[in-house]
Every structure is written in C-alpha cells, then in structure tokens.
Amino acid sequence: MDRDDIKLRVRTIIQDHLEDEEVEYLENSLDSIRGLGIDSLSFVELIFRIEEEFGLKSDNGFTDEQLYEIATTDDVADLIIAAKNAE
C-alpha cells in the first residue's frame, strides 16, 4: 500500500472526527494524532474507524501495545503496511 495514500485517508478520517473549527485550528498538525487533544474514548473510536477503513479485523487489528506507540499518521501507516504485508 502507498504510504501517502494511507496518510491521506487517515487524515480524512481525523478531519471527519473533529469539529470544523478544530480542523481549522489544527490544520498544520493533523498528522500529530497525540496532539489532537482528544480524550481516550475519542481516541479508541478514531482508531476503530481507521481499522474499519483499512479492513483490519480482530486478528490483525492494532494491539493494545501498538496503540500506546501511535503518535502520528506515519505511525499508523507503518502499522497498516505491516498488517497488510502479513496477510
């Protein structure tokens, strides 16, 4: 999978997840997932939507340990590429 395409799709999910004014405010830092200022419940919902978007299921979705490591859309792209390569 193309990394830039993955990041673009993740950014679209993030934009949809946030209020418009939040998107505007965070325009240059949307790739910093940990910097979005969302709470833990909102974070797991965001991750769930990303997993759904890329067809990740219970057996190849992100582990709890991987969630702790996610800080940016690049980190998400790494995990998705690894999961897809493992299929």
């Binding site: 946030l18 419940l41 919902e45 769930f48 299921k57 219970s58």
Partner: protein, 412 residues
C-alpha cells in the same frame, strides 16, 4: 415554599417534526401544520403504518455540531434542544464545574437506535464481530444527560428518568423538586426519544396500536376523532432551563414563565391501560401543588394520543376533575401535528402550554372533523383559538408502565 425557591423558566428549546427552534415550532403549531410524513428510512410494508413524525434538517440547526453524527439520534436531538434552551438562558458552554447546575433528562427508550444498528451489524459480520467502542455509552439511557453535562461543565445532580411517555415531564418535575429543596440553583431538563426504527415498528405494529392511515400523511394523527387511526410515532426532544427565582434574579436572567405545580402517580392495575381515577388524581395533585383550584386553569394540553383507550378516559378524567367548567377550557393535543414523541411528549406539551399562555392563543387539535361522541370537550378543532384569559395551563403525560405526570405552568 419560599419565594426564593420558586421555579422559573429561563430557556426553551426543541427538535421537532414541525421545526428545530421555538419560533418555527410555535408558528407551525399555531397554524396547525402537520409534521407527519411518509417513512422513507425503511420498508414499512410489513407494518401497516407508513407514517411518522420525523425531525428533518437537524444538521442545519445553528445548535447542531458535527460530532453529533457520531452519537445516537436521541442524544443529538437532546443536545440541539438543550443548546437552544441554555443559549436563551444565557448559559455558556465551558468546562468549569458548576456544582449546583443539574441535568435532568427523560427518555422512554434511550439509545435504542444505536442498539438495533449495533446488533444488526454484529450478526451480519460473523467473521469479525466487532462493534464501535462508543456503542455502550451511546446506548445507555443516561447518555443524553451526560452529553449535555459534559459540554456545559454541569457537575451538579444528573438524573435520567425512564418512565415511557411520562419520562420527560417527570424528569422536569424532579428538577422542580431539586430546585425547590435548594439542592440545585439551575437545571436543564427535558425529554428525548428516537423511536423510528424497523424493529420497534414491528413491535408496535404487533401491539395493534399503530395508525393504519393510508391517506395524506398529515391527516394520520387524529386524537379525539371518531375516525381515529391509531398512534403515530414520532421523534423529537424538548428542553427547558429551570432555576430558582433568586438565582435568576441574581444573574439578571429573563424569566419566561413558571412551573407552579407538578405531580406524579402510578396506575398500578395494568401495564398499558390508563385509569381515569389516577388521571384525575395526578391533575388534582398538580393543582394542589401549585396552590390553585380548577377555576384558575385556562388551557389543558392533553396527553391526547389518538387511541381509543386514551382519548375517552382522558376526556372523562378532565370532566371528572373540572366538572361543568370542563367544557369551557380549551383542551388540545399537539400529537395531532407532531405525533407521539414518547418520552419527549410531556415536555412538548409543557412548552406548548407555556407558549399558548404567552401568545394568548390555544394551539389546535388538527384532523378533528368527526369528533368521537364520547369525546365532547372543546379540543380546539382544526384552528387555533384565542384564549379569553391566560392564567394557568396544565400539561399531561401518561406513560406505559402506569406513570402519570402533570405540570402546571404560567407565564411571567
């Protein structure tokens, strides 16, 4: 009750089949506009009933936020209505704790829409039976109260009442007690329900109470009519901001009206059959709580569901309590226009009652060309009527499970 703890109303808000703001809601209610439309969300062929009171254009409301699409429609409508009411009352969204501000919500079935959608998704995807991590907090009945309290930083009492069609009005009544007792200074209170779903329609259909109307949708809901067609379900939310008179005075809030009295009781004999005796008792209790007699009531917003069981018994209850004066009091059912919003319905009745007193105009019961001979009061048939006096109004809500609630309101 000390004057300081008299309960005043400082904000109103609705998300309804006839408008998502108070001005539109009132304009359409006064004009007898129906919000009942053909259901297009799912195939209604198996259910006989093809109509419902449906909220449209919620996303265009200035009180709607993008994030609301990720929560149950029951909570989304509650937020839009509560945001309006709190905005009118001059309460800002902020996260600082307001320890004496409460959130009281009534809902008959809560996040049932999410529950059903989640179950369907779960069983359709046996290979990956995962569902949204937000499902639990969307389904729980206190989700709407929590969503409101979080956004406004209300850290006082939060209470969710689930007493079917009496839920919203009963939640409001509990808020009245909280303010009178001095436990709370301000409460946002209301009702919300979103019951337009396929499985629920099936259950209501099998109960044999849904409207069988197959003509023009707006004519389907026919309370007190001999050719009534049954219950028309609807979705919606209606909220008010209540506070102690002293608190409103201190912060310079504009007072719209008062909740003068409230009472609640239980028809213990049957799960769904109403009781004239208990309806008389609950209306009488609310008047007593308000410290007034039947002589001071100038408008009654009936529960008025358009079912045989309700219409006749409620009529007889009003006659039983008000005696000869019953025929002189306009009695209206807003359900003829918006349908039955279940847990929100009592709050729609209360807000309509308040607006009726404010404008001096009784909203009509539409589709009442052929009154049921057993229903012989002035139901304000088809066209609004000017009130001769605007002292007190009462709003009724009678729920499955036997809970009855009545509120007495007046305007400032």
């Amino acid at each position: 009750m000390s004057t300081a703890n008299r309960v005043v109303i400082t904000g109103l808000g609705v998300a309804s089949p006839v408008g998502n703001d108070i001005e539109t809601f009132w304009k359409n209610s006064e004009a007898g506009v129906s919000g009942i439309r053909t259901i297009e969300r799912f195939d209604t062929t198996p259910f006989g009933c093809v109509v419902a009171g449906q909220v449209t254009g919620l996303e265009e409301s200035p009180y709607y936020r993008k994030k609301y699409k990720n929560i149950d429609p029951c909570s989304a409508m509650a937020l839009v209505a509560a945001n309006q009411a709190l905005s009118q009352a001059g309460i800002e969204m902020e996260n600082s704790g307001k320890s004496r501000f409460g959130t009281y919500v009534g809902t008959g079935i809560g996040g049932v829409f999410t529950h059903e959608a989640t179950c369907m998704k779960y069983f359709e995807r046996q290979d990956d039976p995962r569902i949204s991590p937000l499902a639990i907090v969307q389904v729980m009945n206190n989700s709407s109260a929590c969503e409101i309290a979080m956004r406004y930083g209300f850290s006082g009492e939060s209470l969710t009442v689930s007493t079917a069609c009496a839920a919203g009005l009963q939640a409001m009544g509990e808020a009245v007690w909280a303010i009178r007792s001095g436990r709370s200074d301000l409460v946002v209170a209301g009702g919300t329900d979103a019951p337009i779903s396929r499985p629920l329609y099936s259950a209501w259909h099998c109960m044999r109470v849904l409207s069988s109307w197959d003509g023009e949708p707006g004519a389907a809901s026919r309370p007190f009519s001999e050719d009534r067609s049954g219950l028309v379900l609807a979705e919606g939310a209606a909220f008010v901001v209540l506070e102690s008179e002293r608190h409103a005075d201190e912060r310079g809030a504009e007072v719209i009206g008062y909740v003068d009295g409230f009472a609640s009781n239980t028809t213990h004999a049957h799960m769904t059959r109403p009781s004239m005796e208990h309806e008389v008792e609950v209306m009488s209790g609310a008047l007593e709580d308000a410290g007034i007699t039947t002589e001071s009531v100038d408008f009654i917003h009936a529960h008025g569901t358009g079912t045989q069981a309700n219409d006749v018994i409620e009529t007889n209850a009003i006659k039983g309590l008000f005696g000869e004066r019953a025929i002189d009091i306009p009695v209206s059912s807003g359900k003829s226009m918006i349908g039955h919003t279940l847990g929100a319905s009592g709050m729609f009745a209360m807000i309509s009652s308040l607006l009726t007193l404010k404008h001096g105009v009784a909203t009509p019961t539409i589709n009442l060309e052929n009154p049921d001979p057993k229903c012989d009061l002035n139901y304000v048939p088809n066209r609004s009527q000017r009130l001769t006096r605007s002292r007190y109004a009462i709003a009724n809500a009678f729920g499955f499970g036997g809970t009855n609630a009545t509120a007495v309101v007046s305007v400032a």
